[in-house]
């Protein structure tokens, strides 16, 4: 708990504890000031990139031939297919989606171990949309000062116009956010046409309505409240982090004691210690969650780094080195205070473990994806009865066999059974021709057939003979097989 002991005193401006503490607190209005800098630019780039992908991706086309939709990313519920560029996922391959979710969680853990809540600050949809909504707000109602003044002042026509305009633009963005969402579930151009001519399905309109409402509420009105009170990640994150993770940190060893530039200069002349923080409050003013980072690490800080940009700009002005607020690990901070060499430890047990797990799962998924075939077979043995004795004394087992054709064309498969010499195979409802039992399947389809295997002659009592069902594409010769048993009395 050394760092707690070294923590700076609370800002003297914080209100003293009142006699009766309220149980519930009204939301404090936050007017984040705009800021320029390296991290802000990074955030702009990521904002444009992520929102651009989200809003435009459904319109990207991908030619899959005549029997499949030509939308690059499509979640097709009616036919139960998920299309992602060249990948087509069937329901039974849903483990890919599960794998992706696990990967996402591990990547989040890794990000957290390396640089704290970078996800929160830069990539989280709540952050990105809030950022967009704030930009609109600033553009219409002005930056911090102007906006605060207008809000505190009387209601004028101009103020009303601006508010109405702001909420209209917000609603428009929110509406398009919901609109883009449903485009992932149907052919985008068609759906847009249907939607504007009021022929879309109720589900589509309802989804858009719900997402419009949530986007407008969460990004327009709730903002930092979502991060502070609703999101579980800050809590989980706090349990996953350690002293080597880089977090947005006020280097209080360098900043304290605070004071004006003049006072600091005088103090330095007199050989006294002077901090670099000039108490300009810029870091607080730009903070979208209203945090004073100088009070130490706290739950409400989403680590967006905007305070870093703000403070760097101040440091430039007063000719002090940048980085009074910076991505810094607790270990390094303490090392510096203790006069020890700096600690930079990205490679450590947890990061290595996360990276290894990510590589393992990622490669595993890639391996199965590359090695996956366009045809499949699965068999279920009849349970009641397990076997049948026929009039002529022969034994018969029945199976339900499901064939899968993932190719986008009609295919014909020859079905055979190995492991039981002399066994007769027949498929119910399929005429057996010269090629044996041939089953045709339409493009991108499965077909279930009932298969009877008859064995003439004696079997040892209680026999359970391993057999293999094999399908072979009549054209390409591709095969798939599945193991089962032939059971006797």
């Amino acid at each position: 708990m050394t760092s707690a002991a070294l923590k700076p005193e609370k800002s003297p401006k914080a209100p003293a504890v009142p006699d009766e503490e309220p149980l519930y607190a009204a939301r404090r209005a936050i007017y984040p000031q705009s800021v320029h800098g390296r991290l802000r630019t990074t955030k702009w780039v990521l904002l444009i990139l992520t929102l651009g992908i989200y809003y435009l991706l459904p319109f990207v086309r991908w030619d899959r031939g005549p029997n499949a939709p030509d939308q690059a990313v499509l979640i097709d519920f009616p036919t139960r297919r998920f299309y992602f560029f060249f990948i087509e996922i069937w329901p039974q391959e849903f483990y890919y989606v599960a794998g992706l979710l696990i990967l996402a969680a591990l990547i989040l853990f890794l990000m957290n171990a390396v640089a704290g809540r970078v996800w929160c600050g830069y990539l989280c949809p709540q952050t990105v949309w809030t950022d967009l909504f704030l930009t609109v707000e600033r553009w219409i109602e002005g930056d911090r000062r102007e906006h605060m003044k207008s809000d505190a002042g009387p209601w004028t026509l101009e103020k009303v116009t601006k508010k109405v305009l702001k909420h209209s633009v917000w609603l428009l963005i929110a509406w398009w956010t919901g609109g883009a969402w449903v485009l992932y579930f149907a052919d985008a151009p068609t759906l847009v046409k249907e939607l504007v001519t009021f022929q879309g399905s109720t589900v589509a309109y309802a989804s858009i309505a719900v997402l419009t409402f949530t986007t407008y509420t969460l990004a327009g009105h709730m903002r930092e409240q979502v991060c502070t009170y609703m999101c579980p990640w800050p809590r989980i994150q706090a349990a996953l982090t350690d002293e080597y993770a880089l977090n947005v940190t006020y280097r209080y060893d360098r900043g304290e004691p605070r004071g004006s530039v003049k006072k600091a200069a005088l103090a330095r002349e007199a050989g006294r210690k002077a901090g670099d923080c000039v108490d300009c409050n810029q870091c607080v003013n730009v903070c979208p969650t209203g945090v004073d980072i100088r009070e130490g690490m706290q739950l409400a800080c989403i680590q967006c780094g905007l305070c870093i940009d703000a403070c760097n700009n101040i440091m430039d002005k007063i000719n002090r080195p940048r980085g009074l607020i910076a991505y810094e690990s607790e270990a390094n901070l303490e090392a510096r205070i203790a006069g020890k060499p700096p600690v930079r430890r990205i490679v450590r047990a947890r990061t290595v473990l996360y990276a290894a797990l990510i590589a393992f799962i990622g490669l595993g998924m890639l391996y199965t994806l590359v090695g996956r075939s366009d045809e499949g077979i699965a068999a279920i043995h009849d349970r009641n009865p397990v076997f049948v004795r026929l009039s002529d004394g022969s034994l018969r087992n029945a199976y339900t066999i499901r064939l899968i054709n993932k190719k986008l064309e009609d295919r014909r498969f020859q079905l055979s059974v190995d492991g039981l010499p002399g066994a007769q195979l027949s498929v119910v409802g399929v005429e057996s021709g010269t090629d044996g039992e041939v089953i045709s399947i339409g493009p991108d389809q499965t077909r279930e057939v009932r298969v009877l295997v008859t064995h003439q002659g004696k079997l040892a009592s209680g026999a359970s003979i391993p057999v293999t069902f094999r399908i072979r594409d009549m054209v390409t010769g591709a095969t798939a097989s599945t193991a089962d048993h032939f059971i006797g009395p």
Partner: protein, 293 residues
């Protein structure tokens, strides 16, 4: 209790920080931060919602009833509605099955799988209690997967049997019982016939004196129904005794019991209970279990 101003307060977290609840675990203190006010309003909203819910939906139990709610919703009517929705949804595929002659369904893979799917469900609902989940049968209830049919295994015969049943009281249903020979034949004769009958399927030697005697009794008493060589007769529902497949069992004691007391299993007529289309689907399902002729 102290009255000093200071002692009213719980310990605080640093100067100007929020008070703590006084709880501490491993050096971590619980702060007494106020909840956001909207949280409170959300809580109130849920309470108001609950009142609205009680009024709108079935909610409170009464002595012999319950408050039914002004919307008139209940789970029973919801199920009825869902079933009718489902039937509407299935109407197209049902119509396809209804309009195609029974013999043609199996020729069309799409109709075949449709009929099998529908038949499988109808079978599980209506037939499985006697014939088993997969039609495997049980003692006294025929196995529908084999190729041995008492009343015939063609599509038309199966449809007839399902629609009208066996000894079901339906005028068009299959009739005919196996007589009880206990009062007609002596015990010794019955034993001899049993030996002969078992020899027909190779379950017992046919050249014993008992079997030979049995053969004569069989010719006089049983051949009328089961045929001279015991091959049975589907018109009468008499069993083929030569194929080694037994409805009640092929051991001697069971056969003696069968001859002595006779047999006459009953299958209900499903015509009055199931729709013609469902019976069609059932017929195809049973026919494609593997024994269809």
């Amino acid at each position: 209790m102290s009255t000093s101003h200071e002692s009213h307060h719980a310990p605080v977290d640093g100067a100007g920080g929020p008070s703590t609840t006084g709880h501490e675990w491993d050096g971590i203190q619980e702060l007494n931060n106020p909840l956001p006010r909207w949280w409170l309003w959300t809580f109130y909203a849920t309470i108001i919602w609950a009142f609205g819910y009680w009024v709108a939906y079935p909610a409170w139990p009464l002595v012999s009833n319950y408050t039914s709610g002004v919307l008139g919703w209940n789970s029973r009517s919801a199920v009825v509605e869902q079933i009718s929705d489902l039937q509407k949804l299935r109407a197209a595929s049902s119509a396809k099955l209804a309009n195609v002659p029974l013999e043609d369904i199996e020729k069309n893979p799409e109709l075949l799988s449709l009929a099998r799917a529908e038949g499988k469900v109808a079978f599980a609902d209506n037939c499985a209690p006697c014939h088993g989940a997969g039609g495997g049968g049980a003692k006294g209830f025929p196995n529908l997967n084999d190729d041995d049919w008492l009343w015939g295994g063609t599509l038309a015969q199966i449809q007839q049997t399902i629609t009208h049943g066996i000894r079901s009281g339906d005028d068009e249903g299959h009739q005919g019982n196996m007589l009880a020979f206990g009062s007609i034949l002596s015990k010794a004769d019955i034993s001899n016939v049993a030996d002969y009958v078992r020899s027909l399927s190779g379950a017992a030697p046919g050249d014993t004196p008992a079997a030979k005697k049995g053969a004569e009794i069989f010719a006089a008493n049983c051949a009328t129904c089961h045929g001279e060589n015991g091959k049975g007769n589907q018109e009468l529902g008499s069993k083929n005794l030569t194929d080694g497949i037994w409805l009640y069992g092929g051991d001697k004691a069971t056969i003696v019991q069968t001859i002595t007391n006779g047999r006459g299993g009953v299958m209900p007529a499903w015509g009055p209970r199931l729709s013609p289309t469902t019976i069609k689907a059932l017929t195809v399902y049973v026919h494609t279990l593997g024994g269809g002729q």
